[in-house]
Symmetry: C2
Subunit: 491 residues, 2 copies
């Protein structure tokens, strides 16, 4: 095991270094450094891949005799990763990397001019590539399974389809009722003057006081697109974006705080091994959405932190109380743009993408017909038609990067967030804490039942162990109804 | 050459990543991240060393058929580095690394309690190790040559001894005359109120306007000890330390600016090769000291930038003019501490260390007798006795890190700085620019005659080509006399 551990630590450290270079590129780097930084990142990724897939690593994995559960998990996860990594020939990986680069540039261009035709041939190539990738990786039922597995290990398209249909059927009527109800608050408070530095400072202060993210082991910086990154469980980074519309900074910060606290909670016994990360994108998203929405957009949260907001932003809070603020930050408004969507409409954005991805992979939808199909579904689900393709089918970066099979994880995370919070609140101390916006007991529960395991459990195993049942839409549907029927007076 | 270039680029990128992780550690990193960051740095250094010294790199170097001067330089420098790197057995490198770690901790402890005995056994080990290192590397005349060569390629101890003796004999009388002359200015202006943020902003503003360091390709941050670091010629970092004694920040920033602009000037044709750095520590120091002292502490500089200082720090400049400020920032004061020393006394600090290093290596001085020898020389040269060993023999980190042979480069840099500036000013445009604190022509001259070559010329070749003669103490001695006889009214 010693040789294997050393090898895995080297791969881990190379990847951590690459993450740090990427984080630095988005937050600190002088602009002219970009070209060489790209080459450096490519060297680190290449060396990490070579080291992880070379014959010696294969031998070390084959010869490994793990003792105890911890080492067994390390070997299991490493063998799984190694198996997948070695199934893709270098020539294929290089072809995909080139195609991604070209598709990314074409997408930027296409979005700028809202010209889908510029992007279409690249997307067609990308769909072909991921189909071939699915064949190389192998699957039982559906090629989508092979792709999804990279983001949500063990999850199948049929499961996603079933849960999503259930969710759609049971929340679409709620969307219609809310839309018909009209405004629940004065939403102009969301753009009242809140100086940018004060927004950042308030968001970070609360991230520490409410959620436990402290500068001893974490830092907050600005970037064009918010993200979480980390180089060890004691070296966490979140970034935020600051706009006059101040919810972007506050809720964005707490979203990334959820991701960071997950990584913080992974047990030190997985340090520098492939187990030392969150179990999947979906489980990760369950933590970020819990902090951002289930806690950060709750009434107890604002009852507790309204005085702090009054201090930080007196112009925002003038004439308001905690409940009026709570109503304002929970506005439901169907829109064409996924990243601006609220808790109620968000999942229709991912559902739409999931359905289109399936159709593209199955060959029942041609890339040329994609914009029309997109707009029809938007109209169908949310009653919205994007003003142009830039704000429609071209809005996301994912497909240009070959990330097909990724979108469902956002909604899987939403569903799991409520299912986990419900399970956690079976513990009275957690429930009482949540009711008072005292999250210490909840954090302890999450660390014990979710965070500590890292990748040693699959998302499915983790969900069943932590909540006592498989992932279901029930808790989320119930949560939305209870919360928004109250806010919009629909009871 | 293609395979060799690729291999050298990988080694370069690994080292650049390690530099970035180190820079980040000193400027940004949350404190709890330190332990794992150390492991990550050690992985990167180890992988870079393995890749550079493995059999395949040896073959690529042996088979390389360079075409043209540029490729010849790459192969020459890479072969030189490879030869040195492969002369040290891994077991020796590991032994030295362990000894360095232990010596560093012992030094920190010893300095804190001003207790040389705690450090003495570690220093003895370190002297033994570098003696063995010199034997492994090989030398003709003196073991010191093998060590010096790591910092100042091609330089010999006999040359250093000759130049330093000359310098000592011709500047010691000047120190005595200045010390006898008394104050030349009101030095309390050096601690007048200058808010820390304003110090940093002013220093950075002038670094851009006067010396060309811009945020397009560089950034400035704070750290406990100032340094320059870079990850490509378009990715330069300087750090600064801010104190109430504001010259620390200003001149420290311009010192690091000199280092950064050297790296900026290295030709892009050496990108990601071992040639893409400054020629030596001495040549590097010639640039930093030129910007800090020859330009930054000159009268024309302050005549030009005094109005900017008035704007940035009205409390500092109240009742002063450019010349009174110039007199104040050129205070000569013998002191026990090297890093606080002025232009006139600085070189006695390095001379003393050089002489003691030679004696330790030759075995004519025992480690146990070092503090006494140190204090005797301090008294002899500067008329100062350190109040304790913490402010005497224990003040520098270098010996604990095994950096024996390093100190002379500070003075070699001082000497070269004046010799280069003198040569540059044979060009009337440069001379006129310097007289008006317009450094564009000087920077162009330095880029053409010094910076662009990177490591493709040795320091000796570079000095002869750029100035027309070997390194000499003459220009520096003449500079000190002219400047300080004026300041102290000694003519």
């Amino acid at each position: 095991m010693e040789g294997l551990r050393r090898r895995l630590a080297q791969v881990n450290d190379l990847r951590a270094a690459a993450s740090l270079l990427s984080w630095e590129q988005e937050t600190m780097m002088p602009p002219e450094a970009a070209r060489v930084r790209g080459l450096q990142l490519s060297t680190l990724a290449g060396l990490a891949h070579e080291l992880f897939t070379d014959a010696r690593t294969g031998e070390l994995l084959a010869e490994a005799r793990p003792t105890g559960q911890d080492e067994e998990a390390i070997v299991r996860v490493a063998r799984r990763d190694h198996g997948k990594a070695t199934k893709l020939p270098t020539a294929f990986v290089e072809e995909k990397t080139r195609a991604q680069n070209e598709a990314h540039h074409a997408w930027l261009e296409a979005r700028q001019h809202s010209d889908f035709q510029t992007f279409a041939p690249h997307l067609r190539t990308m769909v072909d590539l991921v189909r071939r990738e699915a064949d190389l990786l192998g699957f039982d039922d559906h090629p989508y399974d092979a792709l999804l597995d990279a983001y949500e290990p063990g999850m199948r398209a049929t499961q996603v389809r079933a849960v999503f249909s259930d969710l759609r059927d049971r929340t679409l009527p709620l969307v219609r009722r809310i839309t018909a109800a009209g405004d629940a608050a004065d939403y102009s408070v969301l753009t009242r003057p809140f100086p940018h530095e004060a927004q950042k400072a308030f968001a970070w202060d609360i991230a520490g006081r409410a959620f436990g993210l402290r500068s001893d082991f974490a830092r907050q910086d600005e970037s064009a697109h918010p993200f979480q990154s980390n180089f060890s469980r004691s070296d966490l980074r979140i970034t935020t974006r600051v706009q006059d519309y101040w919810p972007t900074c506050l809720f964005g910060t707490w979203h990334e705080t959820g991701h960071a606290m997950y990584e913080r909670g992974v047990s030190e016994r997985w340090e520098r091994t492939p187990v030392s990360r969150g179990a999947s994108l979906g489980v990760h998203e369950s933590q970020s959405r819990m902090f951002e929405n289930l806690l950060g957009r709750s009434l107890p949260f604002w009852e507790r932190y309204f005085p702090a907001l009054q201090q930080a932003a007196p112009e925002v809070t003038a004439g308001l109380d905690a409940r009026t603020l709570y109503l304002a930050v929970n506005r439901v408004q169907p829109s064409a743009i996924r990243v601006e969507a609220d808790e109620v409409t968000y999942n229709f954005h991912t559902l739409l993408r999931f359905e289109l991805e399936l159709a593209l992979l199955e060959g029942t939808l041609d890339v040329a017909d994609l914009p029309e199909a997109w707009n029809a579904k938007m109209q169908d689900y949310l009653g919205v038609t994007p003003p142009d393709d830039a704000q429609g089918v071209l809005q996301d970066i994912h497909w240009s990067a070959g990330l097909i099979g990724y979108f469902p994880t956002y909604t899987l995370g939403n569903l799991l967030s409520v299912q986990l919070l419900e399970a956690a609140q079976r513990d009275p101390a957690v429930a009482e804490g949540v009711a008072q916006a005292e999250y210490g007991p909840l954090l302890a529960w999450l660390t014990e039942h979710v965070h500590q395991y890292g990748r040693s459990l699959t998302p499915g195993e983790l969900t069943e162990r932590a909540t006592g049942r498989p992932l279901s839409a029930d808790p989320y549907v119930a949560y939305l109804h209870a919360k928004y029927e109250d806010i919009y007076g629909l009871k």
